[in-house]
């Protein structure tokens, strides 16, 4: 089975955001693999362990993003692709999906895995857009994936309920928390990863046309949200504090 995993490098979720000259400062930031993509990589490796085949991880990003590819290779992926071009620095979701689709279309594939969303942009467009570009079915927010022959059964999180979906391969599946427990790369895995191939491509390698590079949406401004004012600590017995809280929520804030 040929499996592709789309991964993204993001800030660690414990990072604070600092603004510098109107944009988000990247100095000294700890970068990690987007947590949802870790589930996707883990699932790809488990499917390969079960069915055999080949796992290719792919990302779009500058040099620093190769660390997430190395992590995926150390977990057990076989090869990696990194696409970058200065023109992609401000690419919107439309452009990114054009580029990813062009790279994936080059070879045969059976299954594409990706994170349900990235914790930086939070848009969650990547998976469904890519499936549409490739004209294949998708199932989002998977918490379980079983494949038999060419048939996949996906259990997906639907606002807290679980939906059971059947679809034939080729299929794109996005990973939700709970899909699996991602492994830590082992020391031999890390050593082996150093010898695994990373293919580096730019837009002209992929034959991307100018219209495919034309952003449909642009960022006008980035800013920090208004800071929350420190509130009021209640005091007294438990009954007194509860009473005061309820009366404030009811008459001042009118939220209960």
């Amino acid at each position: 089975m040929e499996i592709i995993v789309c991964v993204k490098q993001t800030f660690d979720s414990e990072e604070k955001i600092v603004m510098k000259d109107g944009s988000i400062a990247e100095d000294d930031v700890k970068y990690v693999m987007n947590p949802y993509d870790e589930y996707a990589v883990e699932e790809a490796i488990r499917q390969k362990e079960q069915h055999g085949g080949n796992v290719t991880v792919i990302t779009v990003g500058p040099d620093r993003t190769e660390s997430v590819l190395r992590t995926a290779l150390a977990m057990g992926a076989d090869q990696a692709v990194r696409i970058w071009d200065e023109q992609l620095a401000d690419a919107d979701e439309y452009v990114l999906s054009q580029v990813l689709a062009a790279a994936i279309r080059r070879n045969h594939f059976d299954l594409i895995l990706a994170g349900y969303m990235a914790i930086d942009s939070g848009a969650g467009q990547g998976g469904p857009r890519l499936a549409e570009e490739l004209d294949i079915a998708h199932a989002a927010a998977a918490v379980k994936l079983s494949i038999q022959g060419r048939q996949a059964v996906v259990e997906r999180d639907a606002e807290g309920d679980v939906e059971v979906i059947e679809a034939a391969l080729p299929l794109l599946v996005t990973a939700q928390q709970g899909l699996n427990e991602p492994r830590y790369p082992s020391l031999p895995g890390i050593m082996k990863a150093k010898r695994k191939p990373i293919e580096r491509l730019n837009c002209s390698d992929l034959g991307i046309k100018p219209d495919q590079l034309a952003n449909r949406t642009v960022v006008v401004e980035q800013m920090l949200p208004p800071a929350r004012k420190a509130g009021q600590m209640l005091s007294g017995t438990v009954a007194e504090m509860a009473g005061e809280l309820i009366s404030k929520l009811k008459s001042e804030d009118k939220v209960i």
Binding site: E14, I17, P35, Y36, E93, Y94, I119, D120, G122, A123, Q125, G126, P128, R129, E132, A137, H138, A139, A140, A141, V143, D157, A158, E159, G160, D161, V162, E163, V164, I165, E166, A167, A168, Q176, Q177, G178, A214, N215, R216, T217, V219, Q222, M223, L224, P225, R228, G231, Q232, M233, L234, V238, A239, M241, A242, L245, I246, L249, D253, V255, I256
Partner: protein
């Protein structure tokens, strides 16, 4: 500037979702008097269908495109896409709004991709400036915000539930109802069944009140008083990553940068210390209450009201007093 709008509406057990009415109200406002269409799909009975259409009319829909088919009992990308495409063609809309719900965030990107358009996801504010729309949306789960605009093609966007006002126009229109015939052969994804785990039916992202528990809740059983408090307040239960990782509850309840980002009117954090990644997911709530044993817990820095104490004493007391209040 006048723009023809199309709103993708959802219903749950025959009731329109409030996030859809928020999207409709926003569409009426942004249309500047141009036609506002709504598309809605499902497996209906006639009474529900007419109730739903009457409600959409009363909130300002000019035209309702409706698809009714046993194949639309549950959402699936393929079937809904066909409904969406047909309604989009018929309505000739210049802008399309979805609510940023499980369905909206799944369908909107596929739909935008199909028509080669951009999509601005999870907007919390839309402003009109010199005929141009500016969309504000949280990034890094709300640690920062960005403003975006559309530079090519139609404006397609999803709006975060609980962030836009529902406005009922003074005069009630009678919307045109268009029953669409959509072909549903050779669908690639089939929903075999839906297993209800979310027993109380209140979705976290739409809940007006959320009672959330962290490691301080100590066990799955420890969530019971939180569930009771959520129940008396008509809200939903959420959890921190710590509580989910410890196995006290399902990941579907997780609030934070990984997990769900929520903006309820009232957020009650019980036994949650307030890690940065959790604060990102709930700091935009209107009123925050924190209950924690540790007076130094970072959660108190974002709380409007703080109670230093044992949640297993405070929560039952709150339940008791609220019950007394409602009994009066």
């Amino acid at each position: 500037m006048k723009r023809r709008m199309l709103v993708f509406a959802e219903h749950k057990e025959g009731r329109l979702r409030s996030a859809s009415l928020e999207a409709l109200s926003l569409a009426v406002k942004l249309s500047s008097g141009a036609e506002v269409s709504v598309v809605i799909a499902g497996e209906w009975d006639d009474r529900l269908k007419s109730e739903c259409c009457a409600e959409l009319s009363s909130y300002g829909a000019d035209r309702i495109y409706i698809a009714d088919d046993p194949k639309l009992r549950w959402y699936a990308p393929d079937s809904w896409m066909r409904v969406m495409r047909k309604a989009h063609e018929l309505s000739q809309a210049e802008a399309v709004i979805f609510a940023h719900t499980a369905i909206g965030k799944d369908l909107a990107p596929r739909f935008a991709a199909r028509i080669g358009a951009g999509l601005i996801s999870d907007c919390t504010k839309v402003e009109s400036e010199n005929g141009e729309w500016l969309f504000t949306r949280p990034i890094y789960a709300g640690k920062a915000l960005q403003t975006k605009k559309v530079v090519q093609g139609p404006a397609i966007f999803t709006i975060r539930p609980n962030n836009f006002e529902i406005i009922k126009p003074a005069e009630t229109k009678q919307a045109d109802i268009v029953e669409m015939n959509v072909e549903f052969s050779s669908l690639r994804t089939i929903v075999k069944e839906r297993l209800a785990k979310n027993a109380d039916g209140v979705d976290l992202t739409e809940a007006k009140v959320i009672v959330a528990g962290g490691r301080g809740v100590k066990s799955a059983d420890g969530f019971k008083p939180l569930q009771q408090l959520a129940e008396v307040l008509g809200g939903a239960v959420g959890a921190s990553r710590g509580a989910c990782d410890a196995g006290y509850c399902d990941y579907a309840l997780q609030i934070g940068q990984t997990g769900k980002v929520v903006t309820p009117d009232l957020y009650i954090a019980c036994g949650i210390s307030g890690a940065i990644q959790h604060l990102a997911g709930m700091s935009a709530s209107k009123v925050i209450v924190a209950i924690n044993k540790d007076p130094q817990a970072p959660i108190f820095q974002v709380a409007d009201y703080g109670i230093v104490g044992d949640l297993f004493e405070v929560v039952p007391e709150l339940i008791k007093q609220i019950r007394n209040l409602t009994a009066e």
